[in-house]
Symmetry: C2
C-alpha cells in the first residue's frame, strides 16, 4: 500500500503570544508571493478547504467564508431603504462582491483593493470567491482605499463596506478617525458603513478602540455592533460595526420580508431575516465593554 | 534582568486530525492525575485563566466558562413555568451548579459526577467554579449518571442537564437512545432536558446524530437546538439541545421579564432575555443540517 502524498502531517498556524489556531493542510502552498505590502499565500486545508492568508493571518477559507461575506453585505443592504451604489474597501478575494451582485437593485459596485496579489491569488485558486470580480456592474481598482475615499465626491455611495485585514500592516490607516471622517463625507444621506471590527474575546482594547472611533465620527447613537460565528478567526466570535449616517437603524425599518425571500431564493449559507435581528443581540460581557 | 519563570514558552494543544487550538500556559500543570476514567489536568493559561482538561480535551476555562454554564442553566430554568428539582449529570467542576443556585425557587439540586478527580481538581484549583459544591440545596453524588437515572423514580425532576464531556471515553453512554429514554421517564410532566450537543462546524455527523437521537425519544417537534459563542471549544460555535417532555416551548411562554431582571440583578456575563431568544435563531447551514 502506497501512502498518498497528502498524508504528510503539515500544519499552518496562526498565533499571537498566547493563543494559536492550527489547520492541517495538504502540503506546499498553492500560492506564495511577497507583495509590496504583505506575504500572500493560499493553502489547501482539510477542515476548511482552500485558505487565503496575508502575513500569516487567515483571511478567508472556502468552507467558512460564507458567514463573514454574507453578514458584512446583506445586513446593511436590507437595512437600507434603497441602496444603489456600494463601495468596498479591501476584499480583493471577491467574496463580498459575490454577495453584493446577488442584489439586482444595486446598480454600481466599486472595489478598491490595495494589493494586486490578493486579487491574483484569489482569481487563480479561489474560484468560488473571485467569481464576481469580472461582473459588468463592478469597477475593480487596485489602489489605496484611504486615498480613494479622500478623493471621492461627497455623498457618492449608499453603502461603504470596510472589508479589511487586522489593524496591523497595510490596513492600519483603515482604523483611524481621519479615514472614518472621509467615509462619512462620502456616504449619501442615510448611508451605512459596515466595517469588520475584530473579536470581543481576543484583543479587547482594539475592539473597544474601534467602536469609540466610530462613535466619535458617526455619533454615539448611530453605531451598532453585530456578531457572527467565524471558526477560522481567533476565538470564533467576530464582530462588525454598523454605522449610520443620519437615522438609519439596523432593525427598525429593515426590509424583513425581502430578506426572508432573498435568503431562500439565493440559498444562502448563513444569513436570513432572523439572523439579521439576532446578530445585534450582544452577550452581556460585550454590552458592558461597549458601555464603558 | 532575570527572566521570570512564566516566560517559558509552553503550550497546551487540543487537536483532532485536521484542526488544533493551542493555549500558552505558565508551565507545569497545577493538577495532573489519572483517574479510573481519564487523565484530569489543570493548566494556568494566559488567555483564559485556569483551565480543566480531561484526556487532553478542554472542559472549561475561568475566563470563558460563563457562556457555557449560564446558557446550559438559565435557558431551561426561564423556559420552565415553575422549576423546583434539578438533576445535573456530569458537571463535576461545579460551574453549572453555581448558576442553578442563583435561582431561589429551585429547592433541590442533585449532581451526579462519575469522576471524583474532576471534583477534587476543581475544588482545589477552580474556586470560582466549585464555589457552590457545598451548597445546602445540593446533593453531590460520585456515581455513574446512566445508572443513577436508570434507578431514579418516574417524574422525579423538572429539569435535567447533561453537562457531559464529548462522546468518547466515559461519556459515550450519555449519547445513546436508552439513556435518553430513561431521562424522559425521570422528567416530570412538562420537564426539560438540556444537553450540550457539540459543534455544528466541527464534527457534523456527531452533531446530526445527537439531534436525531433526541428527536426519536422526545418527538420531532420537541427538540430545539440553540447556540453560544465558546472560544475554548473547537470552532468557537457550540450547541445545546433543548428537549421538552410535553409541550413546553423554549420561547413561547418563557418568563421573559424575570429573565431580564435576573440577568441584571445577578450581573451575569452572557445570558439575558434577548440572548435567550436569539440563541435559538440558527444560521441557515445549521437549519439545513437539522432538516435533513
Amino acid at each position: 500500500l502506497v501512502e498518498p502524498t497528502y498524508s504528510r502531517n503539515i500544519w499552518f498556524t496562526e498565533r499571537n503570544e498566547y493563543i494559536a489556531l492550527s489547520l492541517r493542510h495538504k502540503g506546499d502552498p498553492l500560492y506564495k508571493k511577497q507583495s509590496k505590502f504583505q506575504k500572500v499565500e493560499i493553502y489547501d486545508t482539510y477542515q476548511f478547504g482552500r485558505m487565503l492568508t496575508c502575513d500569516g493571518a487567515i483571511m478567508c477559507a472556502e468552507k467558512d467564508e460564507h458567514a463573514y461575506h454574507e453578514m458584512i453585505c446583506h445586513v446593511p443592504v436590507f437595512a437600507h431603504a434603497n441602496p444603489k451604489r456600494v463601495l468596498v474597501i479591501g476584499g480583493g478575494d471577491g467574496g463580498t462582491v459575490r454577495e453584493i451582485v446577488r442584489h439586482e437593485q444595486i446598480a454600481q459596485i466599486t472595489l478598491v483593493e490595495i494589493d494586486p496579489l490578493v486579487v491574483e491569488a484569489s482569481r487563480k485558486h479561489l474560484p468560488t470567491l473571485s467569481s464576481a470580480l469580472d461582473h459588468p456592474k463592478l469597477t475593480l481598482k487596485i489602489d489605496d482605499g484611504i486615498k480613494y475615499v479622500a478623493n471621492a465626491a461627497d455623498g457618492a455611495f449608499d453603502i461603504i463596506l470596510i472589508d479589511s485585514t487586522d489593524p496591523v500592516g497595510p490596513a492600519v490607516g483603515l482604523f483611524n478617525a481621519e479615514f472614518y471622517h472621509q467615509v462619512h463625507r462620502v456616504l449619501a444621506p442615510n448611508g451605512i458603513m459596515v466595517a469588520q471590527s475584530e473579536s470581543p474575546r481576543f484583543n479587547i482594547p482594539v475592539f473597544k478602540e474601534i467602536f469609540n472611533a466610530h462613535r466619535k465620527v458617526f455619533g454615539s447613537n448611530n453605531v451598532y455592533p453585530y456578531l457572527a460565528f467565524i471558526p477560522t478567526y481567533p476565538t470564533g466570535m467576530w464582530s462588525f460595526s454598523f454605522c449610520a449616517k443620519g437615522t438609519t437603524h439596523p432593525l427598525n425599518r429593515f426590509r424583513e420580508d425581502a430578506a426572508a425571500k432573498f435568503s431562500i431564493d439565493q440559498n444562502l449559507n448563513y444569513y436570513n431575516e432572523q439572523i439579521h435581528r439576532s446578530a445585534f443581540v450582544l452577550p452581556r460581557f460585550v454590552q458592558k465593554m461597549i458601555q464603558e
